[in-house]
Amino acid sequence: MSFIPGQPVTAVVQRIEIHKLRDGDNLILGFSIGGGIDQDPSQNPFSEDKTDKGIYVTRVSKGGPAEVAGLRMGDKIMQVNGWDMTMVTHDQARKKLTKKGEDVVRLLVTRKSLENAVRQSMMH
């Protein structure tokens, strides 16, 4: 998950498909996000690189659609339905996730354990 500014980002990602839950008039996904290019990256407890301004999952509600789909706390979201999440503001990220017309969001997330798992499997 390291990135060199100016170079394309390479990461091992996992596809997660979340079906939104209808709660009255809202469609909820069941997690919270933090981060963004307009936020302070040094406050992020989940990022390795404290200059990383990406969108991170800060909390997953128990039993919600996100947990069911396999989202974990500390995940960095790279893409939402094809929209890039590595260089967006906090508000833009929220908007891309909470579009009213969509029932399903397909995320590409990455975490540290993924990379370790891939490395281990490559070593064997």
């Binding site: 909820i28 996904l29 997690f31 919270s32 996000i33 933090g34 981060g35 936020q39 302070d40 406050q43 992020n44 800060t58 909390r59 509600s61 906090h90 929220r94 996730l97 909470t98």
Partner: protein
């Protein structure tokens, strides 16, 4: 020392001259001002055209008593004719202002609606009664009056409207105006008078004539000299004071030159200092005091009188001392005499410093806020002034009135006739009620007013639409005017000097500004006339004045917009002044003596024939200024903390 008892003649002289000025003032004060006495019955502008007298007291006082005695003799029949008007006025006094009308509303109402049938006849008769019969005026004054009336044709409307109103200032007493106009209806049915209601007989002086007399007094020349009496007096005193030191120096030299002690260099030094001080005194007196006065005040200008008295006392006492101690024993010490003269000049310089502070500086620091409201249309302004007496504050306010307030246009005051007639129809019902029952009339009329008010409820609708329509009309005319003027201005252009030689093939006629103005006036004349008529400004601008203004604008290379600025917005009154050496007549109406200083809550008003300015005094608030120091290094910023949004 005999100074103390010989000082008295000087004081006596002082009091004599003050007294003489005072009595002259008081002769005029009954016409204008009654500051000291607390009663404020006053009339101005004349009574109604029916010869009504609103003034309680002389000269009709005698006739009240005789009339009310009920004598029906022929001998006093003429007096009775005069008195009947007062009689009709009397019962009206009991039904006070249920109308609650203010002067200007009734005046405005009186100006617009005059549906009484006998009005035109009565108008003419009473107005010219003074002319046709033997009046108390001489032929020359009548000629003067005629000339003046002809000149005043322009403001005839406003002044004649003003003439119809009578105002009594005493608090709590009703305004006589509305009742007096209403009484005419009753007068027809009264049955007591068989003669024509003019209010004058051949030998009495009606209020009309008294009005004219007062107007004449205001305009005639003796008052013009009045304006300069004060400054002339102070000028003489100043000159006397300036020449005194020179006299002190010269008299010993002339009278007993031989026995004087020779006095060398110190004396010459003193001469030099004396000369320079006199020069400074002369120049500063010229700069400060020798200005033509701009206003005559009704009472003394206290500070100026104080200073004049001070100067007089100083100089008189110096002369006294000089006469007793120097001239009599023929004092030989010349240096002492020169020193004495120098000390007089020093004292005069100090008095001048005092004068500067009292007359010029003290009122510069603002201490009060004056709110000036014009009674007819509510135009108001706020001004900051310093510590002044009421009369000086009045002069100050009037200075600013002429440049700040938009000009008073009486034609703009009244509501459109359509709305007003509806209102008045309601009131007409009320006014035909009985005048005999005065006890329950108040209750009845109140009910009437309430009913009328309820009935009037939808006239505000019409007022709104009428206003909108008026706005639209004005804007349309204005647009036409602007376009016409712009087009007219494109017809001419300024001839540059170098162009004169060229183009002999089509020679253009060279015009001077006046001809150019007349040439381009024609296309815009109609639009201009229509616009002025819509905004009711046409009495202020004659064709001649418009052409003159056009010529002025062309000469100074102004654009059409600059030319129009004079007509599109009503300018300050100063713009419409004609050169009038006589000055403007204003009356100061106040409950306090006008030489008292301004203080909180004081109200006074400045009255002219058809409107007045009401001035309210409030002190400026005391400012408590605190301090807060901000370190420039304390401006620091951080990024906002991580915000978490749940989705």
């Amino acid at each position: 020392m005999t100074l103390s008892c010989e000082g008295n003649p000087a004081l006596y002289l002082l009091f004599v001259c003050f007294y003489s000025i005072q009595t002259h003032e008081s002769k005029r004060s009954f016409l204008r001002m009654d500051g000291v006495n607390k009663f404020r019955v006053r009339w101005e502008g004349g009574a109604g055209t029916w010869g009504r007298s609103g003034r309680v007291g002389r000269p009709f006082g005698a006739c009240i008593s005789s009339g009310l005695n009920g004598d029906g003799n022929i001998a006093i029949k003429q007096q009775e004719e005069d008195c009947t008007h007062l009689k009709t006025v009397r019962p009206l006094l009991s039904r006070k202002t249920q109308l609650g009308g203010t002067t200007e509303r009734s005046r405005g109402g009186a100006g617009v609606h005059k549906p009484r049938p006998p009005a035109p006849d009565m108008d003419n008769e009473s107005q010219y009664s003074g002319y046709s019969y033997k009046s108390s005026h001489s032929r020359s004054s009548r000629k003067h009056r005629d000339r003046r009336d002809r000149h005043r044709s322009k403001s005839r409307d406003s002044s004649s409207r003003g003439d119809k109103s009578v105002t009594i200032q005493a608090p709590g007493e009703p305004l006589l105006d509305a009742e007096s106009t209403r009484g005419d209806d009753r007068d027809d049915n009264w049955g007591e008078t068989t003669t024509v209601v003019t209010g004058t007989s051949e030998h009495s002086v009606s209020n009309e004539d008294l009005t004219r007399a007062s107007k004449e007094l205001e305009d005639s020349s003796p008052l013009e000299c009045r304006r300069f009496a004060g400054p002339v007096l102070s000028g003489i005193l100043g000159l006397f004071a300036l020449l005194t030191p020179l006299a002190f120096l010269l008299l010993p030299q002339l009278l007993w030159r031989d026995s004087l002690e020779p006095c060398g260099t110190p004396c010459e030094g003193l001469y030099v200092s004396l000369a320079f001080k006199l020069l400074v005194l002369l120049i500063s007196s010229w700069a400060l005091f020798l200005r033509p006065p701009r206003a005559t005040l009704p009472r003394f200008f206290v500070f100026r009188c104080l200073l004049m008295a001070l100067v007089f006392l100083f100089v008189a006492s110096y002369w006294l001392f000089y006469g007793v101690r120097v001239l009599e024993p023929r004092e030989r010490d010349y240096r002492g005499i020169v020193g004495y003269a120098v000390s007089l000049v020093d004292a005069l310089l100090f008095i001048q410093y005092l004068a500067l502070v009292l007359l010029e500086v003290r009122h510069l620091r603002p201490a009060f806020c004056l709110k000036v409201v014009r009674t007819t249309d509510g135009a108001s302004r706020f001004y900051n002034v310093g510590h002044l007496s009421i009369q000086r504050a009045a002069v100050w306010v009037l200075d600013h009135y002429y440049t700040d307030f938009p000009v008073y246009n009486p034609a703009l005051l009244n509501l459109p006739k359509s709305i007003l007639s509806k209102k008045m129809s309601g009131f007409k019902v009320y006014s035909l009620g009985e005048e005999n029952s005065t006890n329950n009339s108040t209750g009845q009329s109140r009910a009437m007013i309430a009913a009328a008010a309820r009935r009037r409820d939808n006239s505000h609708n019409e007022y709104y639409y009428e206003e909108a329509e008026m706005d639209r009309r004005v804007r349309k005319r204005k647009a036409r005017l602007v376009v016409a003027v712009e087009e007219a201005f494109t017809h001419i252009k300024r001839l540059q000097d170098d162009e004169a030689a060229t183009s002999p093939k089509h020679p253009r006629e060279v015009m001077d500004p006046r001809e150019a103005a007349q040439a381009i006036f024609a296309p815009m004349a109609r639009a201009m006339q229509k616009y002025l008529r819509t905004t009711r400004q046409q009495p202020y601008h004659s064709m001649e004045s418009i052409i003159a203004h056009l010529q002025f604008c062309i000469t100074h290379n102004m654009t059409p917009k600059a030319f129009l600025e004079r007509y599109l917005t009503p300018g300050p009154t100063m713009q419409y002044q004609r050169e009038n050496g006589r000055g403007r007549q204003w009356t100061l109406v106040s409950e306090e003596p006008v030489t008292s200083a301004l203080r909180q809550g004081l109200v006074f008003s400045l009255r002219r024939l058809d409107f007045s300015l009401v001035v309210t005094v409030t002190p400026l608030p005391f400012l408590n200024l605190g301090e807060e120091f901000i370190d420039p290094k304390s401006h620091k910023f951080v990024m906002r903390l991580q915000s978490e949004t749940s989705v």
